[in-house]
C-alpha cells in the first residue's frame, strides 16, 4: 500500500496512519472490525468534500473500503431541512458528500448510536470509531477497543482494514487511574449527563480512566449513553469502568489492575446542583428545546411522545428531536413520530443538531436560549452562540409547552 500498488487512496491512508502511529509510538498495526466516520458537511467544508470526490473518482478496486464502514450523523436531513431553515446550498453539498461516500462503499448509517442500533461491538474487538460518545460507549460498556478516530483516520482504517496500535488498543492504557464515588444517585438522563460532566471536568484528559463506585442500581443503555457522551465531551475521556457493571471491571481491584485503589473523590448532591446552576435561566423564553446528542433511542422517542400527548408546543418555541434513520423508521411505524409532530415538534433523522450548521440555524430562526436534557449539548452549543440550559426531559417538555423555562 505504501508503494502505491493498491492505488492512491490506500497509499494516502497508510501514509496518514504511519504518521499518526509514529506520533503515538505505535509498535505496529492492528486489524479492525468496523470503522465509523464522523464527516458532517459542516466539518468537511467544501475542501473536504472536494477531497472525498477525488477519492470517489478512482477505479472501484482502488477506492472501496475493505471492512464494514459506517457514518456518524450528517449535516442535514433532506426531509426536515426546510422546516429548520437550512439552505439549498447546505443540501447540495450534503448530496455531494453522500455520493462520494457511497462510491467508496461506505454504508450511510448516519448515527451516533450505532452501538445500540447497527452492529454492537464485542468485548476485545478492535475498532476505528469516530464520535467520542461512540468510542467511550464501545470501550467501556462493551469492552471493545478504539481510540477517538477522526473522520480522515476512520476512513483510512476503512481503506486499509487496520489502525495503528496505540492508546486504547493496548492493555496498559485501559487500567483505572482516577476514582470517584457517588453519595447522590442520578435520577434521570439529564442527571446521568450531569454526572458525566462532573467526572469529565475533574478528569480532563484523554489518557485518564475514571472508575465510578457507589451506584445503587445498574444503569441502562440510555443512561450509560448520556453519561459516556458527557464524560467524553467535558473531559476528552475515552474509557471508564464501573466495577460490577462494565465488562473489564468485575471488581474494583480488577478496575485498577490489582494496584492500590486510590482514595475516591466523593460526588455529592451539591455537585449536581452546582452543575445545573451553571446553566440555569428560570423564566427565560425558551427559543428552542432540543433532544439530541446522542440521538434518541426508540425508548427515548416513546418517552418524548408520552410527555407531549394532549399538549401543544408553544408557538414561539421550536421543539426538535433527532434520531437515527433506523429508529425513525420504527418511530414512524409505531406512530411516535406522528404524536411528536402533531404536538408541534420536528423529528429529524440522521442528524444530531450540533453537527447541522447550528450557528446558521440559530441566525435563521432567531434562536438564542436552548433547553435540552443533554449535558453534552450544553457543553458544545455555547460555542455556536447559544445560551444553553439543562433540565430533565419532563421539564424540557413543560418548558416547550409554556414557551419559557419552568
Amino acid at each position: 500500500m505504501l508503494a502505491g500498488e493498491h492505488g492512491p487512496a490506500r497509499q494516502w491512508a497508510i501514509r496518514h496512519q504511519v504518521a499518526v502511529g509514529q506520533f503515538f509510538d505505535a509498535p505496529d498495526f492492528v486489524a479492525v472490525g468496523q470503522a465509523h466516520i464522523m464527516a458532517d458537511t459542516e466539518s468537511l467544508g467544501p475542501s473536504g468534500v472536494a477531497w472525498l470526490e477525488q477519492l470517489a473518482a478512482l477505479p472501484s478496486d482502488h477506492r472501496r473500503v475493505r471492512i464494514p464502514t459506517i457514518t456518524d450523523p450528517r449535516g442535514l436531513d433532506f426531509d426536515s431541512y426546510q422546516r429548520l431553515k437550512q439552505t439549498q446550498v447546505m443540501a447540495d453539498i450534503e448530496a455531494r458528500a453522500i455520493a462520494a461516500f457511497e462510491a467508496l462503499g461506505v454504508l450511510m448509517t448516519n448515527t451516533c448510536i450505532n452501538y445500540q442500533t447497527i452492529l454492537p461491538p464485542v468485548r476485545g474487538e478492535h475498532l476505528a470509531m469516530g464520535d467520542t460518545g461512540v468510542v467511550i460507549y464501545c470501550n467501556s460498556v462493551q469492552g471493545a477497543r478504539s481510540n477517538f478516530e477522526g473522520g480522515p483516520s476512520a476512513l483510512a482504517a476503512g481503506l486499509t482494514g487496520r489502525t495503528p496500535r496505540y492508546g486504547y488498543h493496548l492493555d496498559q492504557h485501559r487500567t483505572g487511574s482516577r476514582h470517584f464515588t457517588l453519595s447522590h444517585q442520578p435520577r434521570d438522563l439529564a442527571d446521568w449527563g450531569a454526572l458525566g460532566g462532573i467526572v469529565g471536568k475533574a478528569t480532563n484528559s484523554y489518557w485518564e480512566v475514571p472508575v465510578l463506585t457507589g451506584l445503587e442500581a445498574v444503569p441502562n443503555s440510555d443512561e450509560m449513553k448520556h453519561f459516556g457522551a458527557a464524560l467524553a465531551s467535558f473531559g476528552s475521556v475515552a474509557l471508564f469502568h464501573i466495577p460490577g457493571v462494565t465488562p473489564e471491571a468485575r471488581t474494583i481491584a480488577e478496575a485498577f489492575a490489582g494496584r492500590p485503589v486510590p482514595p475516591a473523590a466523593r460526588i455529592e448532591r451539591a455537585a449536581f446542583d452546582a452543575f445545573y446552576a451553571t446553566y440555569a435561566a428560570p423564566g427565560d423564553k425558551a427559543d428552542v428545546v432540543v433532544f439530541a446528542a446522542p440521538q434518541l433511542s426508540l425508548v427515548e422517542m416513546a418517552q418524548v411522545a408520552d410527555l407531549l400527548d394532549g399538549r401543544r408546543v408553544h408557538d414561539a418555541t421550536s421543539l426538535i428531536v433527532t434520531t437515527s434513520p433506523e429508529i425513525k423508521f420504527a418511530a414512524d411505524r409505531m406512530g411516535l413520530t406522528r404524536r411528536i409532530e402533531d404536538a408541534g415538534g420536528i423529528v429529524a433523522a440522521g442528524v444530531c443538531f450540533y453537527q447541522s450548521y447550528a450557528r446558521e440555524m440559530a441566525e435563521a430562526n432567531g434562536w438564542q436560549r436552548l433547553l435540552t436534557n443533554s449535558a453534552k449539548l450544553v457543553n458544545i452549543i455555547a460555542g455556536y452562540g447559544y445560551k444553553p440550559s439543562l433540565a430533565s426531559m419532563a421539564r424540557c417538555i413543560d418548558s416547550a409547552v409554556a414557551g419559557r423555562i419552568v
Binding site: M38, G45, F148, G150, G167, G385
Partner: protein, 139 residues
C-alpha cells in the same frame, strides 16, 4: 543562546511564528468561530482573540472528533494557526494535524509548555527533531 525546549517527535513541517499562550484547552468545534478566525466560546481564556497565523500553546485537546476535518478546512482557507503546541494532545488533533499537514508537537521534557512559553515569544518548531526554540530569550 536562545532557549531550546525538547519535546516528543511531532507532526508537520518546521515553522516559525509568534506564540499565543493560554492554560486552557482546544477544540475547533467547541471553541472557535471559524468564519471570523477567533476563539468564540465565552468561557475560553482566549475568547475574542484571533488564532490565525499564530502558534497556539495550549494544555490539551478536548472532546470533538470534528477537529480532525476542520484543521484542513481552516488551512485551505488560510484561516488556521501556524502551528499548535500542546502539553499533551489527544488523538483527534494529532490525526487532524497529520491530515492538514499542520505542525503540532507535545510532551515536553521540562513539563507544561503553557508555563515555559509566553504570549509574544518568537518560536521555531522542528517537529522531526522534537525541538522548540524560543528565539527572543536567552538560556
Amino acid at each position: 543562546m536562545p532557549v531550546v525546549l525538547k519535546c516528543h517527535r511531532g507532526i508537520g513541517p518546521t515553522v516559525a511564528g509568534t506564540a499565543l499562550v493560554a492554560a486552557d484547552n482546544f477544540s475547533a468545534r467547541y471553541d472557535l468561530d471559524r468564519l471570523k478566525g477567533v476563539f468564540s466560546r465565552p468561557a475560553h481564556k482566549l475568547v475574542g482573540q484571533s488564532y490565525v497565523d499564530v502558534i497556539l500553546v495550549l494544555q490539551t485537546a478536548k472532546g470533538g472528533v470534528a477537529s480532525a476535518w476542520m484543521l484542513r478546512e481552516m488551512t485551505a482557507r488560510n484561516m488556521a494557526p501556524k502551528a499548535i503546541i500542546f502539553n499533551r494532545t489527544n488523538t483527534i488533533l494529532a490525526q487532524g494535524a497529520a491530515f492538514a499537514e499542520l505542525t503540532m508537537v507535545d510532551r515536553f521534557e521540562l513539563g507544561d509548555p503553557t508555563t515555559l512559553i509566553r504570549t509574544g515569544d518568537e518560536l521555531t518548531i522542528e517537529p522531526a527533531a522534537g525541538r522548540v526554540t524560543i528565539l527572543n530569550r536567552d538560556s
